[in-house]
Amino acid sequence: MPEPILSIRDLVVEFATEDGVVHAVDGVTYDVFPGETLGIVGESGSGKSVSQLAILGLIPQPPGRILRGEAEFEGKDLLKMSKKDLRRLRGGQVAMVFQDPMTSLNPVLKIGHQIAEAIQAHQDDVGDKAAKARTIALLELVGVPNPDRRYDQYPHEFSGGMRQRAMIAMAIANDPKLLIADEPTTALDVTIQAQILETLKTAQEESHAATILITHDLGLIAELADRVVVMYAGKVVELTDVQTLFAAPRHPYTVGLMDSLPRLTVDEEWLRPIPGQPPSLISRPPGCAFHPRCFLSQGRTRCRTEEPPLRVIGPDGHLSACHFAEELVGQSSKLIDEPVAGASS
């Protein structure tokens, strides 16, 4: 196996709030390999964004606090790096695309300037003219029409989809080795989402960057990811390659996510959301945090008292954090019998 480009080990991030300490990320471990797309999936509030923002030094501290962990990027621990070195990395070798393009661009600065600024922050030798030329080329690449006119426009003159294209252009401006896309299509109109995914693919091909794709949409995972991390309540509950995940999920939460996915091939009655709400991250349920919602637990004491460790459950390092993961073998999800579109691509 090749060396991972990013290697996160036992990351713990907390927020001190008025209601108590929010355990947003609680001992997360995974690797990202060069050139691959790692999907991170989980309901809203499961710590997906915070885990990424934390390693890049982008969570507000206080109230945030990185309790422990390592995040080795090309052999250097991001969490021990000086602020200056980390700043050089951000937007350079590691770039991010955020969820909401409506609020992620500065309303009082021109779009072109905001991208050119990202280039010049990392390449001292690039003059204003060269930065502008490169920006216009980038805008063209991500599919912004009339890029030389658009260069001088402000964010409010761009539609949501166009803004997200501009954000993607900004992210790949310095040929990053790792591209983190945090729910890049969630805030957009359904009709635009497919186009933005295409743009993202183009950007990936252009920069050859490894990608972390954060989403709560398993459909996107099926389409884009090579390997998948499933997160629940600040922890990794399942980790495997995308085919295995859809063919043989080994965590009841993953199964639940799949059953709540609308499918054209299946009757409406199969569409059932996971019952209940994600748990409070201030006082998480004892034992397995998923037990109040789990169909497999059936009230077994072990689920309520003993925290299930993330353990190898299948070939190629398939990991699951469920005491009774083996019981899912054979007992398939309602959907597993059905061919899963895109899962084999």
Partner: protein
């Protein structure tokens, strides 16, 4: 941008017109402007008759207004009711610059200091500096202006008596022989310093609070996170991406402040015996000269409108969303 400025400018014309109607009618219905004069045994019937005739005081109120407006526009407010020999504008021409010098000096410094304190408080939230700034601004809000003015006067008088150094003067606008050119302006600054400090305290308190709140809102915004995510140095993130957005609400407050202070530094100007708009207004009230009062109110209204116009232009400069709508 140019059309935006022109449009804003044109908007202020009807506003000023409405202000003139409001001012004239509210002052006129308040009572007979010559009531006191008529009780004065020394005032002859002829004098009163002359004043009434000259200012059309016996005509219907709308006609009076038309004559007053004509006089105001074509003849710079004409003469006071009670001293037909003099010109209102001669007085205004003298006091307006004095007040402007004081207010602009105080407010520009207050903006610089207040914004700096606010920004620093926000990026070092809950630090000792932040707590000190908070305490200072509450003092600023609570301290009565006349008390602060007197304390400063006493302080600098004592310094003069004790060490015989003249840092600042404690009253008046100029020395007996201020000299010319640069000497005149240094002397003027020495006179304006303490009154300016008096005015500044409240403004600094206001601006720093405002700036702190506005900055705190902005530093947690998504676009500031984007600015960090692209690897900009923290200085650029704060001064370019955050500050510019955070300034938008402060522009409004300071425009209101400027406008209000042009007419409203009455206490400060009186205590320090500055020959400005404030004492001039008090004099007009004391003499019960309705036409001087109205002229003063018009000038103040114009100042408010003018500073709002400046604020609008600044707004448009800072925030492109406003410029284009």
């Amino acid at each position: 941008m140019v059309t935006y400025i022109v449009r804003r400018f044109l908007y202020s014309i009807p506003v000023l017109f409405a202000a003139s109607v409001l001012i004239f009618f509210s002052v006129t219905v308040a009572g007979d402007p010559l009531a006191t004069l008529k009780q004065n045994p020394l005032a002859s019937k002829q004098t009163i008759h002359n004043i009434e005739k000259r200012n059309h005081l016996n005509d219907p109120i709308t006609t009076q207004y038309a004559y007053w407006l004509k006089e105001a526009v074509t003849n710079k407010f004409g003469s006071p009711l009670l001293q037909p020999g003099t010109k209102i504008w001669d007085d205004l021409k003298r006091v307006i610059p004095h007040t402007l010098q004081l207010v602009v000096l105080a407010e520009v410094l207050a903006l610089l200091v207040g914004i700096s304190i606010g920004v620093y408080s926000a990026i070092r939230q809950y630090s000792i500096f932040d707590y000190a700034a908070t305490t200072f601004s509450f003092l600023g809000f609570a301290m009565p202006v006349f008390w602060l003015a007197l304390m400063l006067q006493i302080l600098f008088t004592n310094i003069f008596i004790k060490w015989h150094v003249r840092i600042f003067y404690t009253s008046g606008l100029s020395s007996q022989n201020p000299g010319g050119g640069i000497h005149f302006w240094i002397d003027r600054l020495q006179h304006l310093a303490i009154p300016a400090m008096t005015l500044m305290l409240l403004s600094i308190a206001q601006y720093s609070r405002f700036m702190r709140a506005s900055m705190l809102e902005v530093v947690n915004s998504d676009y500031v996170r984007t600015a960090r995510a692209k690897g900009l140095p923290e200085r650029k993130v704060t001064l370019k991406h955050a500050l510019r957005n955070a300034l938008i609400p402060v522009v409004t407050v300071s425009a209101l402040n400027f406008g209000a202070l042009i007419g409203g530094a009455v206490i400060t100007e009186s205590i320090f015996q500055l020959d400005g708009m404030g004492p001039y207004f008090l004099g007009a009230l004391f003499n019960q000269d309705a036409y001087v009062v109205m002229a003063w109110l018009m000038v103040t209204a114009t100042a408010v409108v003018a500073f709002n116009l400046i604020a609008d232009v600044l707004y448009g400069y800072i925030d492109p969303r406003i410029r284009y709508d």
